[in-house]
């Protein structure tokens, strides 16, 4: 029985966004009997709807409303209007993610302590201890059915992985396997096992990969405590004269402005839209935007130090067959400043179909240097670099008042410039990635520049002290006690790991906290 709540019902928790953060939080609260209205800007698409065609799927799922870019990152040149490749749909980017589910390493929660002062970096320790999050990582892994955790076996390795594995082991790397994946290796939690179909980025048509779209969302709705309103684009969060969040204004599917009253508001629109909503919620009481007394809203934008390495061989690989992110090398994820940078990086297999390879291999490239690479598409193997980038105050989301969206709201500008540490790490990873393929006989390798960001982090970060960040260790705004941040924007630092598992663990933990505080009458 799907719930239906009145706009004037001020007892509900309003969650903005239904991805890995918002979707999980909505279900977890609903399971505890908390009444939830979830507002989602996109529409509803289920596995039957997903399209295994890269551009067509992009048109179906991607957030393509205007955004602008600045800074010296190459994405601003190659994809000036598309800083991020993230999803606008019920289930959010959990439809698109590759499924890599890695816990942070302990030291990555305390980078200020372990890395020390890094010039130009705004490093800070998370206000959470690793031990505090560990039981929630357990719960998140069980929820997502992560392979190689619990008693779940790993996935079988495809051709792309076998090339990576052989090269990595030839170089002496030890931690090489098919990864910790939220993709079923065996039937689990009413979802079937991976059929090695490829197109993980376009939504898993088998439902073998976890997404909130077809797990947490319908389960939350089945409790009768969750109402999901799709095609609802949030404009701003309102507050009362005591400075408490009181409701959310949004444009409904017909473009009409509505206002849902709220007891608590949780923002999970990703690290670009979440700060945009806070900044657009400025008022006489909060002239710099809601929850922004620290001035940190929108700052410290992180997107991981990324890049890809593709190798061409004299014989076919057919990397597109099977799981997109089919395996990992973890040896370089350690913190070892002797390499010339702090933090570390993961190397994970990746493949793109021919249409996206043409768009992303060397954006702007042309001529035979470019086309001879594509001529060898069948003989290519690919890997993606995921490394910890430095938080910088000037890498930030701001409102671009010169560009407005369909509702007349200023759009987000994403400013990003690589830190010298980021560049040193990327160059190191390019060289190691090429060496891996060279060790298996690559005839040519390509250090491919970063794609539009999929890991968007840090723009409403957690801090122990209110002056250093936007939210406390529970994701609760320092300035507004009944306002929570429930997505990757609460990350204090980015770590080397793909962020989704940590977003889910934090959402489960936040649901416990919110429910407890509500029952105590604290909020």
């Amino acid at each position: 029985m799907v719930a239906k709540f009145d706009l004037s019902d001020d007892s509900v928790v309003v969650i903005i966004g239904t991805g890995a953060g918002g979707g999980v939080l909505a279900n977890e609260l609903a399971q505890k009997g908390v009444k939830v209205v979830a507002l989602e800007a996109g529409g509803r698409y289920l596995p039957d709807d997903y399209i295994n065609d890269e551009w067509e799927s992009f048109g179906q799922l991607a957030w393509t409303e205007p955004r602008t870019t600045s800074g010296d990152w190459r994405v601003a040149k190659d994809f000036s209007g598309l800083p991020a490749w993230i999803v606008k749909a019920v289930g959010g980017t959990s439809i698109h993610w590759a499924g890599a589910s890695l816990r942070f390493q302990d030291h990555e929660f305390k980078t200020k302590t372990h890395y020390g002062n890094v010039d130009g970096a705004n490093l800070l320790d998370w206000p959470i201890d690793p031990a505090e999050l560990a039981p929630y990582y357990d719960k998140a892994e069980a929820k997502l059915g992560v392979t190689r955790t619990g008693d779940r076996p790993g996935l079988p390795g495809n051709n792309n992985f076998k090339v990576l594995e052989k090269g990595a082991k030839a170089l002496g790397y030890q931690e090489v396997n098919t990864g910790h994946m939220a993709i079923n290796s065996i039937e689990y939690d009413d979802r079937m096992s991976c059929q090695q179909t490829g197109f993980c980025f376009q939504g898993c048509k088998w439902g073998a990969k976890w997404s909130s779209a077809y797990t947490d969302i319908p389960r939350g709705e089945a409790t009768g405590n969750l109402e999901v309103r799709d095609h609802c684009h949030v404009a701003r969060i309102l507050h009362d004269d005591k400075g408490m969040a009181s409701g959310v204004e949004y444009f409904d599917k017909d473009g009409n402005l509505q206002m849902q009253k709220a007891k608590i508001v949780c923002l999970a629109g990703n690290s670009i839209e979440s700060p945009r909503v806070l900044l657009n919620s400025h008022s006489a009481m909060f002239p710099d935007g809601l929850a922004n007394s620290s001035g940190q809203v929108g700052r410290n934008y992180m997107r991981h130090t990324t890049g890809s390495v593709y190798g061409v061989f004299d014989k076919p690989v057919k990397m597109w067959r099977g799981t997109t992110m089919a395996g990992i090398v973890r040896d370089e994820a350690r913190h070892d400043p002797s390499r010339g940078f702090v933090g570390g990086y993961e190397l994970e297999t990746l493949s793109l179909g021919l249409p996206f390879m043409a768009a992303f291999l060397d954006p702007g490239g042309w001529g035979r240097e470019f086309t001879s690479a594509l001529d060898s598409y069948e003989n290519m193997a690919g890997m993606w670099i995921v490394g910890e980038d430095m938080p910088q105050e000037t890498n930030r989301i701001t409102l671009n008042h010169g560009v407005t969206d369909a509702y007349g709201l200023p759009v987000a500008n994403v400013n990003y410039t690589d830190h010298p540490n980021d560049r040193a790490m990327r160059d190191h990873a390019y060289a190691r990635g090429a060496a891996i393929y060279d060790a298996v006989g690559a005839t040519r390798t390509f250090p491919t520049p970063p794609y539009p960001s999929t890991h968007n982090l840090g723009t409403n970060r957690m801090s122990e002290k209110p002056r250093d960040g936007v939210v406390n260790k529970h994701g609760q705004a320092h300035d507004v006690p009944n306002l929570f941040i429930s997505d990757g924007s609460q990350f204090t630092t980015g770590a080397a790991e793909n962020p989704t598992l940590t977003i889910v663990a934090l959402a489960i933990r936040q649901a416990d906290f919110i429910a407890a505080e509500m029952s105590k009458g604290n909020i």
Binding site: N52, D53, W55, P156, G157, N158, N159, K162, V163, K166, C194, Q195, Q196, T197, G198, F199, K205, W206, K315, P316, V317, K318, W320, R321, G322, G353, L354, P355, M357, A358, A359, G364, W366, G367, R368, F370, T371, L374, D375, Y377, E378, V440
Partner: protein, 174 residues
């Protein structure tokens, strides 16, 4: 009135006449007249035939794949043959021909060597016209399902049950 261009019809004869007038490089350079197998024919509604032929050659020179037939390049740029798009394309190709003349060639199409045509293109690669054509080709050419098999790419596999029993791990040379 639509002008028929391609492997048969009056316009082909007109083009042949022009090609003959212009010299053999028209045939060699464009491949346009070499649709011996009648693999493609297209109706032009707004662009001049020589403009379109030059545009097809430009497309091939930007993304040259020797195993890809002209018909796919034709399809990739056919969208510019509209009343709205034509003025910009005519102007762009005119500039391309002017650049060719500046390097001592009669026009772009009659510039016989690819390296010479590429040098002409390099000289204008920052221009909005070049970037528009190049950017459009990224999807216009590579998103044609018919070219995928030429690269070995197999497209979707869901309808066949994925690759779980069809070679996801069949690499045999490692």
């Amino acid at each position: 009135m639509a002008t028929k261009v391609g492997s048969k019809g009056l316009t082909r004869r007109q083009l042949l006449a022009r090609a003959t007038a212009a010299g053999a490089s028209f045939v060699v350079g464009s491949g346009f007249m070499a649709a011996r197998n009648a693999a493609w024919a297209t109706e032009l509604s707004a662009l001049q035939p020589t403009t379109f032929a030059t545009l097809v050659q430009m497309a091939r020179d930007i993304y040259p794949h020797d195993r890809i037939d002209d018909q796919y390049y034709v399809l990739a740029v056919k969208g510019y043959d509209t009343a709205d798009a034509a003025p910009e394309i005519e102007a762009g190709i005119a500039a391309l021909d002017a650049a060719a003349r500046g390097k001592g060639f009669a026009n772009y199409l009659e510039t016989g060597w690819e390296k010479d045509r590429v040098a002409i293109l390099r000289g204008m690669e920052e221009s909005p016209f070049f970037q528009k054509i190049r950017g459009g080709l990224v999807t216009g050419l590579y998103n044609q399902k018919a070219v995928w098999p030429i690269f070995g790419y197999e497209g979707e596999s869901y309808s066949k049950g994925g690759y779980i029993n069809r070679g996801f791990d069949d690499i045999d040379w490692l």
